[in-house]
Symmetry: none
Subunit: 215 residues, 2 copies
């Protein structure tokens, strides 16, 4: 091992970070070069420490892990990003991989799996637990309209119509003409959809619509 794999830990739980640091530093081929407690913090630390692998939690205060992935990738495209999370849901997995993550490991996974994942990501490979891979492939190639998510986010029929048309790139005016309502009404529906889905950008709306099979 000529060079140790440089690891940056990003998690808001100090205890977890400390544990991970001890764990990684006890490995001959890796070293923790820094820690960050938030997405914003991570962006700084990434520039400062130039890590090979960034280990990131999805749920963090402030910027979400998903957002952080994109920002980090922008800053240092060479750094591999490994999501370490307790969420087994495929929606997170999909979003993370789409945003540019190189791996996804559950917090309940075995230590050996985490090490394997870090080493794979350091080699520029993508690491997913077989079961996670199944989920991903399934969701990509053989996805059914997800009932689970539809239950939580309940769009009205009018909101659904507007979402679809927005995602297809139609302007508010076009939508208002198609639905025979005023532009103001369209704006209201759209903003309500964004509120319900948690989207703050039109692009997120597009992705949401695609992901949920609206378009």
């Amino acid at each position: 091992m000529i060079q140790k794999t440089r690891v940056l830990l990003v998690d808001d739980h100090t205890i977890l970070r400390t544990g991970l640091r001890m764990f990684f530093d006890s490995q001959a081929d890796m070293v923790v070069v820094g820690e960050a407690v938030s997405g914003e913090d991570a962006l700084e630390k990434v520039q400062l420490h130039q890590p090979d692998v960034v280990i990131l939690d999805i749920s963090m205060p402030g910027m979400t892990g998903i957002e952080a992935i994109a920002r980090i990738k922008q800053l240092t495209p060479e750094a591999g990003i490994l999501m370490l999370t307790m969420h087994e849901a495929e929606e997170y997995l999909q979003q993370a991989m789409q945003a540019g993550a190189s791996g996804y490991v559950l917090k309940k996974a075995a230590d050996s799996e985490l090490l394997e994942a870090v080493r794979a990501v350091a080699r520029k490979e993508i690491f997913l637990h077989p079961a996670m891979t199944s989920l991903l492939i399934q969701s990509i190639y053989h996805s059914e309209p997800k009932e689970g998510l539809k239950k939580t986010i309940n769009l009205t029929s009018r909101e659904t119509e507007v979402l679809k048309l927005v995602a297809l790139g139609h302007t508010n005016k076009e939508i208002s003409e198609v639905l025979s309502v005023s532009i103001k009404t369209v704006e209201t529906h759209k903003s309500r959809v964004m509120e319900k889905t948690g989207c703050v950008r039109r692009s997120e709306l597009v992705r949401y619509a695609m992901q949920e099979g609206y378009i």
Copy 2:
């Protein structure tokens, strides 16, 4: 091991089949229950032997492996299909996974990998070599448009980037930030794309991008 994994070999090369049969039969947990020399033959043998795992080559006389996957899946959805091929190209990989394959192993892979793959598929998991997984994820989430489609309308690389981002719902500002250029530059590229494609509305641009496989 209560039940041995029942394997069906499908390949038009007799030597290879014989070698594989000996190899698998030497394993304590698997048994080759049949062989087939073509896709058509495979369909019969699948019904006859009810295998747990079908090992299939893509390139075969008559029905292609990709076609065979779909047909086999239709007949016996419980059977896992493992592609064993010399093709490293991601287009085959994508097609195979989309058609319903559960794994993809290169003929040049190590014996141990093949065993691992068969066992994973028998467990209803999906098996891909990490490098293959990378390819797949890359091609799904970070794909370049297909060359064939770009013949008629020739977009420059920058125009293509802008088109993709526009179609994904990003604002000019977001695009200018991602590409590190001014908004004015983005506007120019976008209007040029609209000129070339004949689109006059953003929605048409979205449809074009989808149709041409940009997104």
